[in-house]
Protein backbone atom coordinates (compact mmCIF):
# COMPACT_ATOMS: atom_id res chain seq x y z
CA UNK A 1 0.00 0.00 0.00
CA UNK A 2 2.89 2.30 0.79
CA UNK A 3 4.84 1.65 -2.44
CA UNK A 4 2.02 2.84 -4.69
CA UNK A 5 1.60 6.36 -3.26
CA UNK A 6 5.42 6.76 -3.09
CA UNK A 7 5.78 5.95 -6.79
CA UNK A 8 2.81 8.19 -7.61
CA UNK A 9 4.14 11.10 -5.60
CA UNK A 10 7.56 10.87 -7.27
CA UNK A 11 5.89 11.65 -10.63
CA UNK A 12 3.44 14.12 -9.08
CA UNK A 13 6.30 16.60 -9.25
CA UNK A 14 5.82 18.50 -12.56
CA UNK A 15 9.59 19.06 -12.91
CA UNK A 16 10.21 15.31 -12.61
CA UNK A 17 7.48 14.63 -15.18
CA UNK A 18 8.94 17.18 -17.63
CA UNK A 19 12.38 15.54 -17.34
CA UNK A 20 10.84 12.11 -18.00
CA UNK A 21 8.85 13.54 -20.91
CA UNK A 22 11.98 15.09 -22.48
CA UNK A 23 13.71 11.69 -22.42
CA UNK A 24 10.71 9.68 -23.68
CA UNK A 25 9.30 11.98 -26.37
CA UNK A 26 11.95 11.43 -29.09
CA UNK A 27 11.73 7.64 -28.64
CA UNK A 28 7.93 7.61 -28.70
CA UNK A 29 7.83 9.80 -31.81
CA UNK A 30 10.48 7.79 -33.67
CA UNK A 31 8.79 4.49 -32.72
CA UNK A 32 5.39 5.79 -33.80
CA UNK A 33 6.66 6.95 -37.21
CA UNK A 34 8.59 3.73 -37.81
CA UNK A 35 5.83 1.28 -36.83
CA UNK A 36 3.06 3.34 -38.44
CA UNK A 37 4.98 3.70 -41.70
CA UNK A 38 5.70 -0.03 -41.86
CA UNK A 39 2.19 -1.04 -40.75
CA UNK A 40 0.33 1.29 -43.13
CA UNK A 41 2.51 0.32 -46.13
CA UNK A 42 2.14 -3.39 -45.31
CA UNK A 43 -1.60 -3.11 -44.72
CA UNK A 44 -2.30 -1.06 -47.84
CA UNK A 45 0.00 -2.67 -50.40
CA UNK A 46 1.30 -6.07 -49.25
CA UNK A 47 -1.30 -7.72 -47.02
CA UNK A 48 -3.62 -10.09 -48.89
CA UNK A 49 -7.29 -9.39 -49.52
CA UNK A 50 -9.75 -11.35 -47.37
CA UNK A 51 -11.66 -14.20 -49.04
CA UNK A 52 -14.96 -12.81 -47.70
CA UNK A 53 -14.40 -9.05 -47.25
CA UNK A 54 -12.11 -8.57 -50.23
CA UNK A 55 -9.96 -5.40 -50.26
CA UNK A 56 -12.20 -3.69 -47.71
CA UNK A 57 -10.41 -5.66 -44.98
CA UNK A 58 -7.62 -3.03 -45.24
CA UNK A 59 -9.85 -0.61 -43.31
CA UNK A 60 -9.34 -2.94 -40.31
CA UNK A 61 -5.68 -1.83 -40.05
CA UNK A 62 -6.81 1.65 -38.97
CA UNK A 63 -10.21 0.81 -37.44
CA UNK A 64 -8.96 -1.72 -34.85
CA UNK A 65 -6.16 0.55 -33.47
CA UNK A 66 -8.70 3.39 -33.08
CA UNK A 67 -11.08 1.07 -31.18
CA UNK A 68 -8.20 -0.08 -28.93
CA UNK A 69 -7.09 3.52 -28.31
CA UNK A 70 -10.61 4.79 -27.59
CA UNK A 71 -10.94 2.19 -24.81
CA UNK A 72 -7.35 2.54 -23.53
CA UNK A 73 -7.56 6.34 -23.32
CA UNK A 74 -10.79 6.02 -21.35
CA UNK A 75 -9.10 3.57 -18.99
CA UNK A 76 -6.33 6.19 -18.58
CA UNK A 77 -9.00 8.80 -17.86
CA UNK A 78 -10.57 6.56 -15.20
CA UNK A 79 -7.16 5.89 -13.57
CA UNK A 80 -6.44 9.65 -13.51
CA UNK A 81 -9.85 10.20 -11.89
CA UNK A 82 -9.02 7.70 -9.11
CA UNK A 83 -5.62 9.36 -8.58
CA UNK A 84 -7.27 12.77 -8.45
CA UNK A 85 -10.18 11.86 -6.18
CA UNK A 86 -8.30 9.55 -3.77
CA UNK A 87 -4.73 10.86 -3.66
CA UNK A 88 -5.26 14.41 -5.03
CA UNK A 89 -2.39 13.78 -7.45
CA UNK A 90 -1.61 17.25 -8.88
CA UNK A 91 -0.86 15.97 -12.40
CA UNK A 92 -3.87 13.64 -12.59
CA UNK A 93 -6.39 16.43 -13.28
CA UNK A 94 -4.14 17.98 -15.92
CA UNK A 95 -3.61 14.53 -17.51
CA UNK A 96 -7.37 13.88 -17.58
CA UNK A 97 -7.97 17.24 -19.31
CA UNK A 98 -5.37 16.37 -21.97
CA UNK A 99 -6.39 12.72 -22.49
CA UNK A 100 -10.10 13.54 -23.01
CA UNK A 101 -9.95 15.20 -26.48
CA UNK A 102 -7.42 12.63 -27.76
CA UNK A 103 -9.67 9.75 -26.65
CA UNK A 104 -12.73 11.47 -28.13
CA UNK A 105 -10.88 11.74 -31.47
CA UNK A 106 -10.00 8.02 -31.35
CA UNK A 107 -13.62 7.07 -30.54
CA UNK A 108 -14.94 9.29 -33.36
CA UNK A 109 -12.44 7.81 -35.83
CA UNK A 110 -13.35 4.29 -34.69
CA UNK A 111 -17.04 5.02 -35.39
CA UNK A 112 -16.38 6.70 -38.74
CA UNK A 113 -13.97 4.05 -40.07
CA UNK A 114 -16.41 1.39 -38.83
CA UNK A 115 -19.18 3.05 -40.84
CA UNK A 116 -16.90 3.26 -43.89
CA UNK A 117 -16.33 -0.50 -43.55
CA UNK A 118 -20.00 -1.26 -42.79
CA UNK A 119 -21.45 0.44 -45.87
CA UNK A 120 -19.82 -1.85 -48.47
CA UNK A 121 -19.89 -4.96 -46.22
CA UNK A 122 -23.26 -4.78 -44.42
CA UNK A 123 -24.97 -2.43 -46.87
CA UNK A 124 -25.58 0.18 -44.16
CA UNK A 125 -23.61 2.95 -42.46
CA UNK A 126 -25.06 2.22 -39.04
CA UNK A 127 -26.99 -0.40 -37.06
CA UNK A 128 -28.04 -0.17 -33.41
CA UNK A 129 -25.86 -3.15 -32.61
CA UNK A 130 -24.58 -3.62 -29.01
CA UNK A 131 -20.89 -3.08 -29.94
CA UNK A 132 -21.55 0.02 -32.09
CA UNK A 133 -23.96 1.52 -29.57
CA UNK A 134 -21.60 1.00 -26.60
CA UNK A 135 -18.76 2.70 -28.52
CA UNK A 136 -21.13 5.58 -29.36
CA UNK A 137 -21.90 5.85 -25.61
CA UNK A 138 -18.13 5.96 -24.98
CA UNK A 139 -17.82 8.87 -27.45
CA UNK A 140 -20.63 10.73 -25.63
CA UNK A 141 -18.91 10.04 -22.29
CA UNK A 142 -15.77 11.70 -23.66
CA UNK A 143 -17.81 14.71 -24.84
CA UNK A 144 -19.52 14.91 -21.43
CA UNK A 145 -16.15 14.81 -19.68
CA UNK A 146 -14.75 17.61 -21.89
CA UNK A 147 -17.88 19.75 -21.39
CA UNK A 148 -18.09 19.15 -17.62
CA UNK A 149 -14.48 20.26 -17.01
CA UNK A 150 -15.34 23.65 -18.51
CA UNK A 151 -18.86 23.93 -17.08
CA UNK A 152 -17.96 25.50 -13.73
CA UNK A 153 -16.50 28.91 -12.91
CA UNK A 154 -14.26 27.23 -10.36
CA UNK A 155 -11.96 24.81 -12.31
CA UNK A 156 -11.49 22.45 -9.31
CA UNK A 157 -15.25 21.77 -9.14
CA UNK A 158 -15.40 21.03 -12.86
CA UNK A 159 -12.45 18.65 -12.59
CA UNK A 160 -14.03 16.83 -9.65
CA UNK A 161 -17.38 16.46 -11.42
CA UNK A 162 -15.63 15.25 -14.60
CA UNK A 163 -13.60 12.73 -12.56
CA UNK A 164 -16.81 11.30 -11.05
CA UNK A 165 -18.36 11.06 -14.53
CA UNK A 166 -15.24 9.35 -15.91
CA UNK A 167 -15.31 6.79 -13.08
CA UNK A 168 -19.04 6.09 -13.48
CA UNK A 169 -18.61 5.80 -17.25
CA UNK A 170 -15.87 3.19 -16.88
CA UNK A 171 -18.65 0.61 -16.62
CA UNK A 172 -18.98 1.00 -20.42
CA UNK A 173 -15.53 -0.56 -21.01
CA UNK A 174 -16.44 -4.16 -20.08
CA UNK A 175 -19.73 -3.70 -21.94
CA UNK A 176 -17.79 -2.76 -25.11
CA UNK A 177 -15.39 -5.67 -24.64
CA UNK A 178 -17.98 -8.38 -23.98
CA UNK A 179 -20.88 -7.00 -26.05
CA UNK A 180 -20.09 -9.40 -28.90
CA UNK A 181 -20.32 -12.35 -26.49
CA UNK A 182 -23.27 -11.22 -24.36
CA UNK A 183 -25.55 -10.27 -27.26
CA UNK A 184 -26.17 -11.57 -30.74
CA UNK A 185 -24.49 -8.77 -32.68
CA UNK A 186 -23.90 -8.00 -36.33
CA UNK A 187 -20.37 -6.94 -35.37
CA UNK A 188 -17.94 -9.85 -35.64
CA UNK A 189 -16.46 -11.41 -32.47
CA UNK A 190 -12.89 -10.56 -31.36
CA UNK A 191 -10.20 -11.99 -33.66
CA UNK A 192 -7.43 -11.48 -31.07
CA UNK A 193 -7.85 -12.50 -27.43
CA UNK A 194 -5.42 -12.78 -24.51
CA UNK A 195 -6.25 -16.42 -23.86
CA UNK A 196 -6.72 -18.01 -27.30
CA UNK A 197 -4.82 -18.10 -30.58
CA UNK A 198 -5.76 -15.36 -33.09
CA UNK A 199 -8.41 -16.41 -35.59
CA UNK A 200 -6.79 -14.47 -38.42
CA UNK A 201 -3.91 -15.19 -40.79
CA UNK A 202 -0.42 -14.06 -39.72
CA UNK A 203 -0.10 -12.10 -42.98
CA UNK A 204 -2.94 -9.90 -41.71
CA UNK A 205 -2.05 -10.05 -38.01
CA UNK A 206 1.44 -8.53 -38.44
CA UNK A 207 0.38 -5.28 -40.18
CA UNK A 208 -2.46 -4.97 -37.65
CA UNK A 209 -0.03 -5.30 -34.73
CA UNK A 210 2.35 -2.79 -36.35
CA UNK A 211 -0.32 -0.11 -36.91
CA UNK A 212 -1.73 -0.71 -33.39
CA UNK A 213 1.73 -0.29 -31.85
CA UNK A 214 2.47 2.75 -34.05
CA UNK A 215 -0.79 4.53 -33.20
CA UNK A 216 -0.36 3.67 -29.48
CA UNK A 217 3.14 5.16 -29.35
CA UNK A 218 1.90 8.18 -31.34
CA UNK A 219 -0.98 8.83 -28.96
CA UNK A 220 1.37 8.43 -25.97
CA UNK A 221 3.67 11.04 -27.57
CA UNK A 222 0.74 13.41 -28.19
CA UNK A 223 -0.51 13.06 -24.59
CA UNK A 224 3.00 13.61 -23.17
CA UNK A 225 3.40 16.70 -25.38
CA UNK A 226 -0.01 18.11 -24.43
CA UNK A 227 0.62 17.46 -20.74
CA UNK A 228 4.05 19.12 -20.90
CA UNK A 229 2.46 22.15 -22.59
CA UNK A 230 -0.28 22.25 -19.92
CA UNK A 231 2.38 22.25 -17.15
CA UNK A 232 4.20 25.16 -18.84
CA UNK A 233 0.90 27.06 -19.23
CA UNK A 234 0.00 26.45 -15.59
CA UNK A 235 3.44 27.72 -14.46
CA UNK A 236 3.00 30.82 -16.66
CA UNK A 237 -0.43 31.51 -15.11
CA UNK A 238 1.06 31.18 -11.60
CA UNK A 239 3.89 33.60 -12.41
CA UNK A 240 1.50 36.13 -13.96
CA UNK A 241 -0.85 35.91 -10.96
CA UNK A 242 2.10 36.40 -8.58
CA UNK A 243 3.42 39.42 -10.48
CA UNK A 244 -0.10 40.92 -10.48
CA UNK A 245 -0.25 40.40 -6.70
CA UNK A 246 3.20 42.01 -6.26
CA UNK A 247 2.07 45.01 -8.32
CA UNK A 248 -1.09 45.36 -6.17
CA UNK A 249 1.06 45.20 -3.00
CA UNK A 250 3.43 47.88 -4.38
CA UNK A 251 0.50 50.19 -5.23
CA UNK A 252 -1.05 49.60 -1.80
CA UNK A 253 2.25 50.45 -0.07
Amino acid sequence: MRATPNLLHRYANPGQFLRLSRVLLPWLTAGALLFLGAGVAWGLFFAPADWQQGETVRIMYVHVPMAWLASSCYLGLAVCSVLSLVWRHPLADLAAIEIGPVGACAAALCLVTGSLWGEPMWGTWWVWDARLTSVLVLFFLYLGHIALIRAFDEPARGQKAAAVLALAGAVDLPIIKFSVQWWNTLHQPDSITLTGAPTMSLTMLWPLLLTTLGFTLGVAAVIFTRLSAAIHESRTRQLLARSRLDRTDTHAA
Partner: protein, 54 residues
Protein backbone atom coordinates in the same frame (compact mmCIF):
# COMPACT_ATOMS: atom_id res chain seq x y z
CA UNK B 1 -7.45 3.34 -62.92
CA UNK B 2 -8.52 -0.23 -63.70
CA UNK B 3 -6.08 -1.58 -61.08
CA UNK B 4 -7.76 0.18 -58.18
CA UNK B 5 -9.19 -2.26 -55.63
CA UNK B 6 -12.93 -2.57 -55.11
CA UNK B 7 -14.37 -0.04 -52.65
CA UNK B 8 -11.13 1.96 -52.86
CA UNK B 9 -13.00 5.17 -51.94
CA UNK B 10 -13.92 3.72 -48.53
CA UNK B 11 -10.35 2.53 -47.93
CA UNK B 12 -8.85 5.88 -49.00
CA UNK B 13 -11.32 7.85 -46.86
CA UNK B 14 -10.56 5.68 -43.79
CA UNK B 15 -6.78 6.10 -44.10
CA UNK B 16 -6.98 9.81 -44.99
CA UNK B 17 -9.22 10.59 -42.01
CA UNK B 18 -7.25 8.53 -39.50
CA UNK B 19 -3.78 9.65 -40.60
CA UNK B 20 -4.96 13.25 -41.17
CA UNK B 21 -6.52 13.56 -37.70
CA UNK B 22 -3.48 11.92 -36.07
CA UNK B 23 -1.12 14.31 -37.89
CA UNK B 24 -3.30 17.29 -36.91
CA UNK B 25 -3.29 16.23 -33.23
CA UNK B 26 0.47 15.68 -33.24
CA UNK B 27 1.34 18.96 -34.99
CA UNK B 28 -1.06 21.05 -32.89
CA UNK B 29 0.35 19.50 -29.67
CA UNK B 30 3.91 20.26 -30.83
CA UNK B 31 3.06 23.87 -31.70
CA UNK B 32 1.24 24.31 -28.38
CA UNK B 33 4.27 23.02 -26.46
CA UNK B 34 6.60 25.34 -28.37
CA UNK B 35 4.29 28.34 -27.76
CA UNK B 36 3.87 27.55 -24.06
CA UNK B 37 7.65 27.16 -23.58
CA UNK B 38 8.32 30.50 -25.29
CA UNK B 39 5.64 32.26 -23.24
CA UNK B 40 6.93 30.80 -19.97
CA UNK B 41 10.50 31.83 -20.84
CA UNK B 42 9.31 35.38 -21.60
CA UNK B 43 7.30 35.66 -18.36
CA UNK B 44 10.16 34.16 -16.29
CA UNK B 45 12.65 36.56 -17.88
CA UNK B 46 10.34 39.50 -17.20
CA UNK B 47 9.79 38.54 -13.54
CA UNK B 48 13.55 37.93 -13.08
CA UNK B 49 14.34 41.40 -14.45
CA UNK B 50 11.72 42.91 -12.13
CA UNK B 51 13.28 41.04 -9.20
CA UNK B 52 16.78 42.32 -10.07
CA UNK B 53 15.52 45.89 -10.53
CA UNK B 54 13.75 45.80 -7.15
Amino acid sequence: MTNLPAHWQYIAASYALTLGCSAFLAISAMLRLRRSKARLAAVEGHSRRRGTAA
